[in-house]
Symmetry: C2
């Protein structure tokens, strides 16, 4: 943490801006960007930012502010009053301010905002006096009481927005008002009195008339909201760590609710769903910002702004587009802006990097390179692994979807707010979505809501897709779904959602809870049918279709072209190799098409299960001496050889690392009486013999038991058979002119002696096999160059890597096991405490997902550096699941590995991350 | 390994000695000592030594000799022929040689010896011609054929000593000879022909007449015997590692079988059983060395030598004692010598450091300091942990033993050949002894044999005690048993052992297999009764009686005085502290009496099992919320507090490290239906609830599961209760004026956050508890200074020890778990492959017994150095079982630990090893 700063408040606007864009960690994204906008001459309402450091202090010091902070707030407020010529709480011309949160990373909807602060029974009159707009005055006041009560005092008292909404409803009923705006100034004034009563009822104290008290409570509420469960959960789901807290932005209020030429809106400088190069956005006339973000009223599109009755809007539209262009050019990235028009004058309230789908992220990155705005290195470093991954998401099977369309099942359309396609059973609450997922891991549900709120994030995460009836591209549902790359159709206004009856009505059509519907997140189409399910099958994305299946249509597809371009760029930068984990020729071929430069891990165990093979394995297990064991296991030789031939062919010219048998033998025998009886019958032995052997194989801690190289040391015949299968296969395909580079890998070595023992057997077997092969076929001798290496997955192996490397020609880090043993966790059991550990911030995340660079990473680095001490050209890779996780790939690059290996569909992401690792380095 | 040497043969004797005593690694113990004796003027038969390096080469190069070695052998042989004026195989005056093994460490009986080499049909006549002794000639020849056939050619062909013995028996029967010496020269000549037939029958080739062929085969056999299973097993049992192989000593033969003034014997410069300062030994007139060592004939005592008829023996006796004294003075240690008298001329064949019992080792060491021969440092460094341990061995309960004596149950006496007392069921073969031990770990058997041979070592190891009817203090049984510190009575000549009937007869008394007998290894008494078992109960050694029970008689006992003296010396040298692992006041007090300077580990889990406590623990486990859990666990508080009070009292003034609960919760619940039903009944819940909870607690890999600090993080109420119990106990005893230094230890921390989370709870709880205690009793405020630290037993913890040490005040290495996780072994399961690993030399030994310094040691060193980077005064200890194992203690000293902690009875050994660590350092 940086040294203690004594400055806690930074002023912006009015030509007196103190902050900068690069002060995000301290001022939060919003504060830093308000300052930056102030610096480049974009009109922002002036104000000041209280730092994230102050929030951190507040959180750690029992809700006290750092010494001097409140004085600085008062000074900044005085400055603001001087600048605006208004005074907080003034009964003639009061200053009103907003109080907003703003952390360094955007967390939509998670943080609380208070508007119209400074209003009280006196200043509301001053406000009306000054603006001459009585209705706006009372409307603002009732909104402020509502917001202050709900957002600021609600968490401690249970006072909620609904409590006010109820009264609003009553009032509307009473005066037969259809919408809020039908209420007159007098009626709103009446509502203010009622609202204050509601406030007192719940809070137990009178609504505070002192604006400084209002401000202090509001700052407290923003700081306090940093640690609310929902904020914590959002950060967890999004893996946001390392932040101090949120900043607080106190800013002069501007009013979008001052009548016909006032309004408020949000916009994107490009399309955040598709990346298309067109500014887009939504606004509401005569409204405050919360109305847009909450998605309660469906807003108008920015391009329709010039069509508003008042010609002022034409100017505003022009000015807005100009500012958006300026901002994008300044920040060199797609911006997400908030703006307000107060009586024809445009103010920018916020600009920030826009969240986007994978398609948009990749498209914008490519386009901006073409536009000369950024270079490929910058484009690459902006694309997240998940973005690229989204290009690989399944879409609806084109035929099936067009058939559905022909049948007219596309009953409704909303905004294409989140990528991909999804089908599932309708549920109407986040809790139901979570419960369904908890009941059944494979459950597919579509969460259908009028709109979503931060409380729903758990259920949104659990659902296949999200469908809302209100709200636009910037509504909560849209923003969150896009952030996750989850399929979402937002603002499908034709939907009539009835939470009580648990049904959707679209005209006369009714969709009940539990019925299947299908969403296309790229077109916004909602496929459904009256009382019947519509479950359109999905199919591979154009990228997968082009790469894996070689489909001609897909190769022409824009998405494929973008994928291709980005991957090509990545390869120009990256230094570390990318291989794949593949056990079958099919997987190997797919991975190669995705750019894999070899196989880093072929597991041989699945080859033991197929068809009749398991019988031979079980004979091997039941055998009573080496001879019997050898006979049994050698039955597998032809099968294994064939498996390897297929893989070698698919990987012609590229290295293939094959791991010898790893799992404990008890994984190959049935553990139930019926299975044992059947096994006994098939093998013609007594059931007791089977049962006894299974019992003998039982282990208290199987992951630390008789497995890996320990098996082959006890039963060298296993290792001999596998080596023969590998080398015979290699010779056979080599004869056909295929270039084969087998790398034989010993699993789970913890000592030099273990490795050496097997290395000797492997070399002897391999050399004899090659000799035999060549002695039979005299015409043309094949040359097969193989190497022998080991997995480094035992902590001790890292400490003696220098010794192991004396004979081992390569290392491949098995970081799954290394993490298990290094932490003393069992992946199978850790579920009992891991979630609690993450909740309690004891772990930053699941170490099986993202490699723990702090601790386990040290073991990896030790293994590499010790290994290279002995053998400077030691080839080093990783073949755990971390090999396809971007931050882990970057670590592997920094640690000096030669390659990472991951599952076929993660290869593009690994290539991207590998390139980013190089670009990151050049930045530092 | 040293650089390749080109000299493979070293000459000794005849004033041309090339070797020295300090060349043991190269020349073996025997070779180096023959050279040394040659150098200091002790008469040895000349010869030459082929190096251990040659053996290593032989073993690694498919039984080939290093280049040039055979030439050097031939040259040395020529030199020997010149020196002796005889020629190998000469038909007039042939040179005869012996070929003996000799590794750097003595391995009695394990290596093969060939005598009389050079005899053939011609040279036997030359031998007779020269010596004029026809009988000796043919006797030597038949012995040579026997030995060459059995020892040299036997391993490959199955030819055995018995095959020859049978023929000898037949011959004796035929000529009505009672003993071997009754056979005449002619009859022995006849036997030679028969022996050669036996040889050809089994070997398939004629007996080789060419002496060079005999020599080559014999060297091969010695080298080959290095890798025989029995030699390998002996080295394993005795943890002998790091040797290249055995040397071969080719030496001119001297004959103890040349008549009345010839003979052969062995001796010790002091008593190897008691350490008494008196030379002792045994010899046989007119015999060769093998007869003594094999224990077939009961020899005479050296002190009786002057009583032999021929007055030459008086001179020989005087000369022998003089040489033994000279040797002891030269080597400054008790010597074990072999000698031969050839026609009145004394030759020393071997001298080496004598194996001894713990009593002898400690007594000799103390005596030699008193004699001014050595200093205390040398005395300390000569005493092995096992030696000291033997002083703690149980002896027979004095009352019970004297009662048995009164009843006249001491039916026989043998030599007091191995320490301690033992009682058990009689078995008559090594296999039966091993089988009994395998069937039941607690089985007590006494192995009864006429004599033992190297094939028996497995069964000897398994037995409680060994009883033989022939052989002396230097017989195989005596030497091996003494080496192990195992109770042994040797050469009890009154025993008539009948292997077929499986019984012992002593006069008219019969003891059948399975009947109990009792052996006193210190007096040689054999207690038994006709057809009844005698199972005398054992009691504590004088050391234990004096230290633990404060028995007055024991404090005057010589053994206690020796123990005391050695421990005092040790404390003068050692720098590292010695603590104990103790869970009860009784253990704590005992350990303190043994010199423990505190408790390094108090486990709290056993405290959860006693009496009704388990009910509260089970209520805790079944509880459904924090409140219920807190209520349940707090029931344990008064019990735990009382436990701790007792321990604190016992450790007044010394630190006590208490570990918070460590094992997984499923260890506290019954896993069988009956137990669960009972638990449900007692706790008044449904059986299903119990069963469900037990099922939920199941873990696939429990040692990596929900245990250690993970438990207290999930259920902080556990940690709170334990901390309160500790601190309340500390306050309570502190009030009584007892100095209490509690160290609260968090188990299984792998990350800084885990430790910090609990550290905060512990400090808060502890400080509050002290405050509360003091607020109640206002008169006199107690001050309790506690520290909070952690066990380092997770590999990852070593890598982030610098961070953990920010808050942790001490580290205690839990090397059991660190070894499990570092190797990826499970102690519960490793039995499946560990023995095979040790057999195949993949591991030098069981890493749970002796700390693996190469790998796990690196993690320990990393943890210490990182921890001290942050906190230079970090207190560091070890509390695994390694803390009482000498070589591990030495490692801990070198690694810079502050203390080791071990079980109470290992404390003296740890003190000794700690002193040796310092002495070792000063030597290097």
């Amino acid at each position: 943490m940086a040294k203690k700063r004594s400055k806690h408040v930074y002023f912006f606007g009015g030509g007196m801006t103190e902050g900068r864009a690069d002060m995000k960690p301290l001022l939060g994204g919003k504060g830093a960007n308000l300052a930056e906008m102030g610096n480049i001459g974009v009109p922002v309402p002036p104000g000041f930012t209280i730092t994230t450091e102050a929030c951190d202090y507040y959180s750690k010091h029992d809700k006290n502010y750092p010494p001097g902070a409140m004085d600085q707030v008062k000074k900044a407020l005085a400055k603001l009053e001087r600048l605006m010529g208004k005074k907080l709480g003034d009964s003639n011309d009061p200053l009103l301010v907003s109080v907003r949160s703003g952390a360094a990373v955007s967390m939509p909807g998670m943080m609380d905002t208070v508007l119209n602060l400074g209003l009280n029974d006196e200043s509301v009159l001053g406000f009306i006096h000054k603006t001459g707009n009585e209705r706006t005055g009372w409307d603002s006041y009732r909104r402020f009481i509502n917001m202050f009560g709900d957002v600021v005092m609600g968490p401690g008292t249970g006072l909620k927005h609904e409590h006010f909404e109820e009264e609003l409803g009553e009032m509307k009923k009473k005066y037969k008002a259809k919408v809020d705006t039908d209420l007159s100034a007098e009626q709103l004034k009446e509502l203010c009195v009622i609202y204050k009563k509601v406030y007192k009822e719940h809070v137990g104290k009178k609504f505070p008339e002192d604006p400084m008290e209002q401000l202090r409570h509001s700052i407290d509420a923003v700081f306090g909201s940093w640690d609310t469960p929902r904020a914590v959960k959002y950060r967890q789901l999004n893996k946001i760590t390392g932040l101090l807290g949120t900043a607080v932005n106190v800013q002069v209020m501007v009013f979008g609710n001052m009548g016909e030429i006032s309004g408020t809106g949000v916009g994107f400088t490009r399309n955040p769903a598709t990346g298309a190069r067109e500014p887009m956005g939504e606004y509401l006339v005569n409204a405050q910002g919360e109305d847009v973000v909450a998605g309660i009223r469906t807003p108008s599109h920015i391009e329709d702004m010039p069509k508003e009755r008042n010609p002022v809007w034409r100017n505003v539209h022009k000015q807005l587009l100009g500012i958006m262009k300026k901002l994008e050019k300044h920040y060199k990235d797609m911006q997400d802006v908030e703006f307000t028009i107060q009586e024809g004058e445009l103010f920018m309230l916020q600009t920030r990097t826009g969240k986007r789908t994978g398609l948009a992220a990749t498209t914008v990155a490519c386009d901006m390179v073409d536009e000369g705005l950024i270079r490929p290195a910058e484009a690459i470093s902006r694309i997240e692994g998940d973005h690229l991954n989204q290009l690989l998401f399944p879409i609806f099977d084109p035929k099936e979807e067009s058939a559905a369309k022909k049948k007219g099942l596309d009953k409704a359309y909303g905004l294409p707010a989140g990528p991909g396609a999804a089908a599932g059973k309708v549920v109407f609450s986040a809790d139901d979505a979570e419960a369904a997922a908890n009941r059944d891991e494979g459950a597919r549900v579509i969460l259908v809501r009028r709109d979503t709120s931060p409380e729903d994030v758990g259920g949104m995460w659990a659902a296949q897709g999200i469908l809302t009836s209100t709200g636009g591209m910037t509504s909560h549902a849209a923003v969150v779904a896009r952030g996750w790359g989850k399929c979402c159709v937002a603002g499908a206004g034709d939907l009539n959602i009835d939470y009580k009856r648990k049904q959707i009505a679209i005209g006369s059509i009714v969709i009940k809870e539990g019925q299947y519907i299908s969403l296309n997140g790229a077109t916004g189409a909602v496929y459904c049918e009256d009382k019947k399910g519509v479950d359109i099958p999905t199919t591979a994305s154009p990228v997968v279709a082009a790469v894996v299946h070689g489909a001609a249509w897909a190769k022409k597809h824009a998405i494929f072209k973008i994928y291709h371009r980005i991957s090509d760029w990545a390869d120009q930068f990256r230094k570390i190799g990318v291989r794949t984990n593949a056990d079958t020729p099919k997987d190997a071929a797919a991975a190669r098409a995705f750019g894999a430069e070899g196989i880093g891990l072929t597991r041989t165990e699945h080859m033991f299960f197929e068809g009749d093979r398991i019988l031979a394995v079980r004979q091997f297990i039941l055998a009573e001496n080496t001879d019997e064991r050898r006979k049994a296991i050698n039955k597998l030789l032809p099968y294994q050889r064939k498996d390897f031939e297929g893989i070698f062919k698919a990987m012609d010219g590229l290295p293939v690392t094959i791991r010898l048998l790893d799992p404990p033998l008890h994984e190959f025998v049935p553990h139930d009486a019926a299975g044992q009886k059947e096994m006994a019958r098939v093998l013609g032995v007594s059931q007791k013999k089977v049962a006894d052997r299974v019992k003998a194989l039982h282990e208290f801690n199987p992951m630390r038991g008789h497995r890996g190289c320990r098996l082959s040391i006890t039963y060298p015949e296993l290792c001999v058979m596998q080596t023969r299968a590998i080398i015979e296969a290699a010779c056979n395909v080599a004869k056909k002119g295929i270039r084969v580079l087998p790398e034989i890998m010993v699993p789970l070595a913890g000592t030099k002696a273990e490795f050496d023992y097997l290395e000797q057997i492997i070399r002897q077997t391999a050399d004899n096999t090659i000799k035999q092969k060549n002695s039979r076929a005299r015409k043309k001798k094949v040359k097969v160059k193989y190497t022998v290496g080991t997995m480094i997955e035992i902590p001790r192996a890292c400490t003696v890597a220098d010794k192991i490397a004396e004979k081992a020609e390569f290392f491949s880090f098995g970081t799954n096991d290394l993490t298990q043993m290094g932490y003393g966790y069992s992946r199978d059991d850790a579920g009992v405490f891991l979630p609690d550990y993450i909740d309690k911030k004891i772990l930053p995340g699941d170490p099986f997902e993202t490699l723990d660079q702090e601790g386990i990473g040290q073991l990896v680095e030790m293994g590499i550096s010790k290994g290279r001490t002995t053998r400077p050209d030691l080839k080093v890779g990783i073949c755990g699941e971390h090999g396809g996780e971007p931050s882990s790939v970057k670590f592997c690059h920094r640690a000096g590995m030669n390659y990472v290996s991951c599952s076929p569909y993660r290869v593009p992401i690994a290539r991207l991350a590998a390139a980013q690792a190089v670009i990151d380095e050049s930045k530092n």
